[in-house]
């Protein structure tokens, strides 16, 4: 187990255009030993690139990778002693389930009785004990991915375990089960775990700290709660939550914001900002009222089962509101913004109140 430090990591995939886009740009991160981290972001934001740089499958174009302060940038994945589980199941077809799990241990010259002991543990954990002697190619995609997971977990001495969207191919009901299992394993063994996903639920339930990436940079690192309450960037606000945060164009002066010519009270004083200013508020923190608040007009109502999502129009801008099941929704509701849940963004970046 180890802490992982990235120093000025940048990566550019080889192409004819030398000035082409960077898949990753200038990352400086320190991830604690024993932490459970999730890398969250849309497809193509550089999550997998970053993961492969950490595991050593990819050499970064710039920067260094340090494990426990030791530079490992030039070491092979094997020497770095990393486990990695991939998005799609990788099994050795001609080997049995048990042999598949034993494979990484055997390659490292572990004693035979130790191997079979460890393999038996992992088999029972994955619920594959009764299929241990079947050939791996005869298994379902679910079970194959379990084997992939098992090969990632079978070594106890690894520095870190990296997961690259490992549950994509798994059935939804199994997903929950496996995710809980992974979390349990983490609490038990305290491996440093890094989990790549584009699914916010997965990231938020698995990780202690979530790293939100976009366009090759890290936008925010925080606990699930921090990401929800105070997104550091409008992208984080919109990406996390369903529906995401309402981002409204506004003018801010002191403790007041003007949205579509309507005054909104802010949680604190802000200095006057001249750039593009936006006000962010989660749909969860807006309520409907008959008597007070901002006059709006109902545009659409979606009943998603556990609650109702109402889209309302202010003068120009659309606001999503989440209300409990059974709420009656007027055509011309009034919206009440929870004052202390409002965030202000300047050029898409969070601004803190001055007092």
């Amino acid at each position: 187990m180890a802490s992982i430090e990235l120093k000025n990591i940048a990566h550019q995939y080889p192409s004819e255009d030398k000035s082409g886009p960077y898949a990753l740009s200038s990352l400086n991160e320190l991830w604690q030993d024993g932490g459970a981290y999730a890398l969250l972001g849309p497809s193509g934001c550089g999550k997998t690139t970053l993961l492969n740089i950490i595991s050593g499958l990819l050499q970064p174009s710039e920067g260094r990778v340090l494990f426990d302060g030791v530079d490992v940038t030039d070491l092979s994945p094997e020497k770095r002693n990393i486990a990695q589980v991939f998005q799609f199941p990788v099994v050795y077809d001609t080997l049995t389930v048990a042999e598949n799990l034993a494979f990484p241990l055997k390659n490292r010259g572990m004693a035979k009785d130790k191997i079979s002991e460890r393999v038996a543990e992992i088999l029972s954990m994955l619920g594959l004990s009764d299929r241990a002697n079947e050939k791996a190619h005869s298994l379902t995609a679910d079970d194959k991915q379990k084997i992939s997971l098992g090969r990632g977990l079978v070594r106890t001495d690894v520095k870190a375990i990296l997961f690259d969207e490992p549950l994509t191919v798994i059935d939804p009901h199994l997903k929950w089960q496996l995710r809980t299992e992974l979390k349990k394993i983490h609490q038990q063994f305290r491996h440093t775990m890094i989990y790549v996903t584009h699914d916010q639920t997965e990231a938020l339930t698995f990780a202690d700290k979530v790293i939100v990436m976009y366009g090759g940079s890290v936008l925010q690192i925080g606990t699930p709660e921090e990401l929800f309450e105070t997104p550091a960037h409008t992208f984080v606000g919109q990406f996390i939550g369903s529906p995401g945060m309402n981002i409204l164009k506004a003018n801010v002066d002191g403790a007041l914001a003007i949205v579509d010519r309507i005054q909104v009270a802010l949680p604190g004083n802000y200095r006057k900002i001249d750039d593009e200013v936006e006000l962010g508020i989660r749909p969860e923190y807006i309520s409907l009222s008959q008597t007070e608040g901002i006059q709006a007009e109902t545009v659409s109502i979606d009943d998603v089962g556990k609650h109702i999502i109402v889209r309302c129009r202010l003068e120009h801008q659309i606001v999503s509101v989440i209300v409990p099941e059974g709420t009656s929704i007027p055509d011309k509701p009034r919206l009440v913004f929870a004052q202390d849940k409002i965030n202000i963004y300047q050029n898409a970046v969070l601004v803190r109140p001055t007092g």
Partner: protein
């Protein structure tokens, strides 16, 4: 069940006619010859299975069969491992790829009799680069007189001509393996041999089987090249089944035994094809079964 409309049969009629002209009728002629004898004047006598017995018991046929089988076995033993090895060594991306592919395809584009002629000249002791070169280095090499030299020449010629086919088939199988398998193997600390044994070989199994089948069929039916290079000699040492068959049918005009021999030859090839087909469909069934479960 309701009677179906039989008009569809008319649609396959043209194909049936073409196939019968090109395959069935000539084959039946051969069958016809194989059970009859003639003394000219277009008079034929029924002899039953006599020719078959004669062929199957004849030393000449059995020796030719042994030679052909030995030739095929040697060809497979050399070309398959060599083909895999070259395919593994070929670059997977970059400008080297097209260069290697073109280089590999070149021998396959040369007509059989030209290949024969090239090697016939190449190996000649008086003017050939290989033959003369070896002779001037002091080797006693002469494919027209020495049985071993003749075999070596034919095998090297076939390896030169056809290993590319194995290479190209294996290469196509290798490039189809997703990169993630190699990544997983690196993470698992697999050795180069383990990667080959547990990832590459299982993944190219199917194309490899096709390569084995094609190379077996082709080497078992080889005719033109040895005919051009050695003419079946020295002695009968490189007289393979096909050469023997032509000698019997065209050289000696023994139509009956030649027809019987053709049919036996044909049945052997059919048997081997059936074995390969069975193995390949069993692979398919396995794959389908695991797909279904997934």
């Amino acid at each position: 069940m309701k009677t179906q409309n039989n008009k569809a049969w008319f649609l396959v009629l043209p194909v049936l006619i073409l196939v019968s002209i090109s395959a069935i009728i000539p084959l039946m002629t051969v069958v016809n010859y194989s059970v009859q004898d003639t003394f000219g004047n277009n008079e034929f006598f029924w002899v039953g299975t006599e020719w078959f017995q004669e062929v199957l018991n004849s030393e000449r046929f059995l020796n030719a069969l042994k030679r052909t089988l030995l030739f095929s076995a040697l060809i497979l033993a050399i070309e398959i491992p060599l083909g895999i090895f070259i395919a593994l060594a070929m670059p997977k991306r970059g400008i080297g790829v097209s260069f290697c592919l073109v280089l590999m395809a070149l021998p396959l584009l040369i007509p059989w009799n030209v290949v024969g002629t090239i090697w016939q000249v190449f190996g000649r002791v008086d003017i050939g680069l290989l033959g003369h070169g070896l002779a001037s280095l002091g080797f006693d090499y002469n494919y027209t007189q020495n049985v071993f030299d003749a075999w070596v020449t034919l095998i090297i010629m076939d390896v030169w001509h056809w290993t590319s086919l194995v290479v190209l088939l294996c290469y196509s199988g290798l490039v189809a393996i997703p990169e993630v398998y190699y990544q997983a193997a690196r993470i698992d600390g697999a050795s180069r041999w383990s990667v080959f044994r547990f990832i590459q070989l299982p993944k190219i199994k199917r194309v490899l089987l096709i390569a084995v089948l094609l190379r077996f069929m082709d080497s078992f039916m080889i005719y033109t090249e040895p005919f051009v290079v050695t003419g079946g000699g020295p002695g009968n040492s490189t007289t393979f089944l096909s050469i023997d068959l032509v000698q019997m049918a065209v050289g000696q005009f023994d139509l009956g035994p030649a027809a019987a021999m053709s049919l036996v030859y044909f049945l052997i090839i059919l048997l081997v094809c059936w074995i390969f087909y069975t193995i390949m469909t069993s692979f398919d069934a396995q794959a389908a079964a695991s797909q279904k479960k997934g």
